[in-house]
């Protein structure tokens, strides 16, 4: 057979376009700047995000809510820069005319370059997520990973990559990549300044993982299911933005068949529509009572039901029971409360159990947010005292030592006050008995000690008891007052005598029928 008689072989590119696209993607993956930017992105994540995330308590809700903004900020700049660099490659290497005559239309080639950049970015991001979640899985005592925050951060990478790539393609200059990189950081890190309250359109930013003004709620995923309303809107926005940018980039290249251009117009319009809808949805969000953003159009009422769990309890005189996600705090909490609980265990009206409760949030006027217990701290039959651990409350993270100190100084007096009926309108006898029991438990708050008294040993530091988290302010007897002297006398009694008197007179004391003179 001669060469001229041989049947013509069809080119693999035209007969198997999928294979050709895969080959093109493989080539782009091998020659992509993001591959070399991956160590930079991972190092930035490790320096900035990992330290911050791992410093939070080992609760899935806190770790996931911290991962989302930190990962977005750590990856956005390198990804945007690498994408802009890749987008300007043809111009930089003066190969635009050379590749324009190839079989593949320019939009397809550009799409392959963008896809390769995004793939490497996602690979680096997923490695970081895997490490953070693996460490958290070893440390967390209950619950499972929250995937929505990780998905939002992942969805932000294609969007940032598309924006950077479009900038590099359309404005190929040596200044484009650095300026795009810094613009990405500026927009993402500082746009949150515009968020005001829970009904803000700016919550669509992927760095927002929780109500911006109060921070992530540790109760999400522990007491109540995680609400994915805002993450759904964010993913919708990011996907729409990605599609719109890529569609617009296809249009701007001015290449391709008419059908391709029509498709690009349709895709761009669909992307803009999705992004706009997501922004509008984010603006309808409101702070729900569990500390998460609820969007009515996306909200699932079933997620408002509390999660079922078996609490972990201590073996103190009155059991202290915590959510299993907080099991690591149980020994310190129980040790901090044990002296106080020893004083009231077995008394009529004393709580049968100390049980951890979820924080309830209330959106106040303007941008104010109130939080606390949903009901009375002491309720039920048999009575149960509901407590909020300091680590549950919005604000800076507290160490285990700080938490134990706050439990002793705030929750301990509140438990005793709930038994004696002490409070702002209580009698002097109630103030005296409460203070006496705290003296006996060696847990007197420092502000109730006489000036000059050493605070070590028999007192605990902390804020004034009126700042208690349970809504039941404890007053106590002021040093130097007759009530304080009566408290000192009562505390000096033998424990059995004190207990015997309380068993006989506690009901009258709670009713406010006893005076200071009737105390032993």
């Amino acid at each position: 057979m001669t060469v001229t008689r041989a049947p013509a072989r069809s080119a693999p590119v035209t007969s198997r376009p999928g294979l050709a696209a895969a080959r093109l993607l493989r080539l782009e993956l091998r020659h992509n700047a993001m591959l070399w930017m991956m160590p930079v992105a991972v190092a930035l994540f490790w320096v900035t995000a990992e330290r911050k995330i791992m410093a939070t308590p080992p609760l899935w809700s806190l770790r996931a809510a911290g991962l989302q903004p930190d990962a977005v900020l750590a990856f956005a700049s390198p990804v945007a820069g690498a994408a802009a660099w890749m987008g300007s490659r043809e111009s930089r290497r003066r190969t635009t005319d050379l590749v324009n005559i190839t079989a593949r239309p320019r939009p397809v080639r550009l799409l392959a370059t963008w896809a390769a950049t995004t793939c490497w970015a996602l690979v680096a991001y997923l490695v970081c997520v895997a490490v953070v979640y693996a460490v958290t899985a070893q440390q967390a005592t209950w619950g499972g990973p929250l995937w929505w925050p990780a998905v939002v951060a992942a969805a932000s990478l294609p969007a940032v990559s598309a924006l950077g790539f479009a900038a590099g393609t359309l404005v190929p200059s040596r200044f484009t990549a650095p300026l795009v990189t810094i613009a990405a950081f500026f927009v993402l890190a500082l746009s949150t300044q515009l968020i005001n309250g829970s009904q803000s359109y700016w919550q669509i930013s992927p760095v927002v993982a929780a109500p911006w003004d109060i921070g992530p709620d540790p109760g999400a995923g522990t007491f109540y299911p995680y609400q994915p309303d805002l993450p759904i809107a964010q993913v919708m926005f990011l996907t729409g933005l990605t599609v719109a940018v890529l569609g617009a980039l296809t249009l701007s290249t001015g290449a391709g068949a008419r059908s391709l251009r029509r498709s690009a117009v349709a895709v761009t319009a669909a992307g803009l529509l999705a992004a706009g809808t997501a922004v509008a949805l984010a603006g309808t969000g409101r702070l729900d009572r569990h500390g998460m953003i609820a969007i009515p159009a996306l909200h699932d009422a079933a997620s408002d039901r509390p999660l079922r769990y078996t609490p972990v309890c201590s073996h103190t005189a009155i059991p202290v029971c915590l959510n299993p996600a907080y099991a690591s705090y149980l020994p310190a909490t129980a040790a901090a409360l044990a002296p106080t609980l020893d004083q009231i265990a077995g008394l009529p009206g004393a709580p049968a159990r100390i049980s951890q409760a979820a924080v309830t949030y209330r959106q106040g006027p303007g941008n104010s947010v109130g939080f606390g217990l949903a009901g009375l701290p002491l309720s039920g039959v048999p009575p149960v005292f509901h407590l909020l651990l300091p680590v549950e409350l919005p604000g800076p993270a507290v160490t285990t030592t700080e938490q134990a100190s706050q439990v002793r100084s705030i929750i301990g007096p509140s438990i005793i006050a709930s038994v004696t009926g002490d409070g702002p309108g209580a009698s002097q006898a109630q103030h005296a008995v409460t203070t006496a029991l705290l003296m006996a438990a060696r847990a007197v708050p420092s502000h109730l000690l006489p000036p000059g008294t050493p605070t070590a040993g028999n007192s605990v530091p902390g804020p004034p008891p009126v700042a208690g988290t349970d809504g039941e302010p404890y007053v106590g007897a002021a040093p130097g007052s007759p009530a304080y002297a009566a408290a000192q006398r009562f505390a000096a009694l033998p424990a059995a005598a004190r207990r015997g008197w309380l068993v006989r007179h506690l009901a009258a004391l709670r009713a406010g029928r006893l005076s200071l003179g009737q105390l032993p």
Partner: protein, 281 residues
Amino acid sequence: MTTGEARAAPATTSDAPQGTAPAVPPAATARAAPVTASAVPPATRPGAAPATASAVPPATRPGAAPAQAAGPGTPRPPRAGIRLVRLYATSRRIPAAVTVIMACAVGLRIALAGRWDTYGALQLPLVFETAAAAVVTATVASPLGEPERITGRWLPYLRLAATLALTAIAVGALAAAGTGAHLAGGTLDVLRNLAGLVGIGLLCAATIGGGLAWIGPVAFLLPGAYALYTQWHHPALTTPWLWPGRPPRDLGAAICAGLVFTAGLAVLTARGARDPADERD
């Protein structure tokens, strides 16, 4: 001859300032000559970036011979020197860089007029300082690469002068933008941070290339902003090598930033950016 062979030639020693002809062995000169000849076409190719005077063989440019022959120690006609500076500035996009730096200053001024919380007010100047530093370092990339390094004897001085001038312009512009407004850290902070960031960029230019030199300052932005953040949220980052997180009058931070700037400037002046010959901006 490939570019790799050209780099291997000891002709790169001619990049250092010399008053006389470079002491290159005859064999090396013979190897380097064709490289220079083959690298000339970028100036004649359509769409090529403007070349500096020193990058073009003197035989092909009337009137350029005295400038080419003259070294740093010999007098040169003023017009030729001005032309050399103008061509160098054009090839490095220095006018565009100055425009972008001015835009950064205007942006900072506009941003300072807004209301920011503590985090925003502290991080805002750093973002604009990083942008200006990245622009300064982006100018060190050469569109001509090795041919220019071989033939351009005034390049070290031009690199030094251009970088110093742009850094000074950036510091002045950002400091002026903060005049009359609450610029966190003040002018001292701008000077220290910008100098250090430019130094990082120059070191990156010498190691990974002028085109990608912006990676250094931009990558430093995140730890810098994080260092500012950790002033309130422990664990704090307090090393003076993260100078943006230190007070403006902190001596250790100033020394670190100054060392990085000096090292970057010295390396760039002596060696120039590591640039491929086949890329332009």
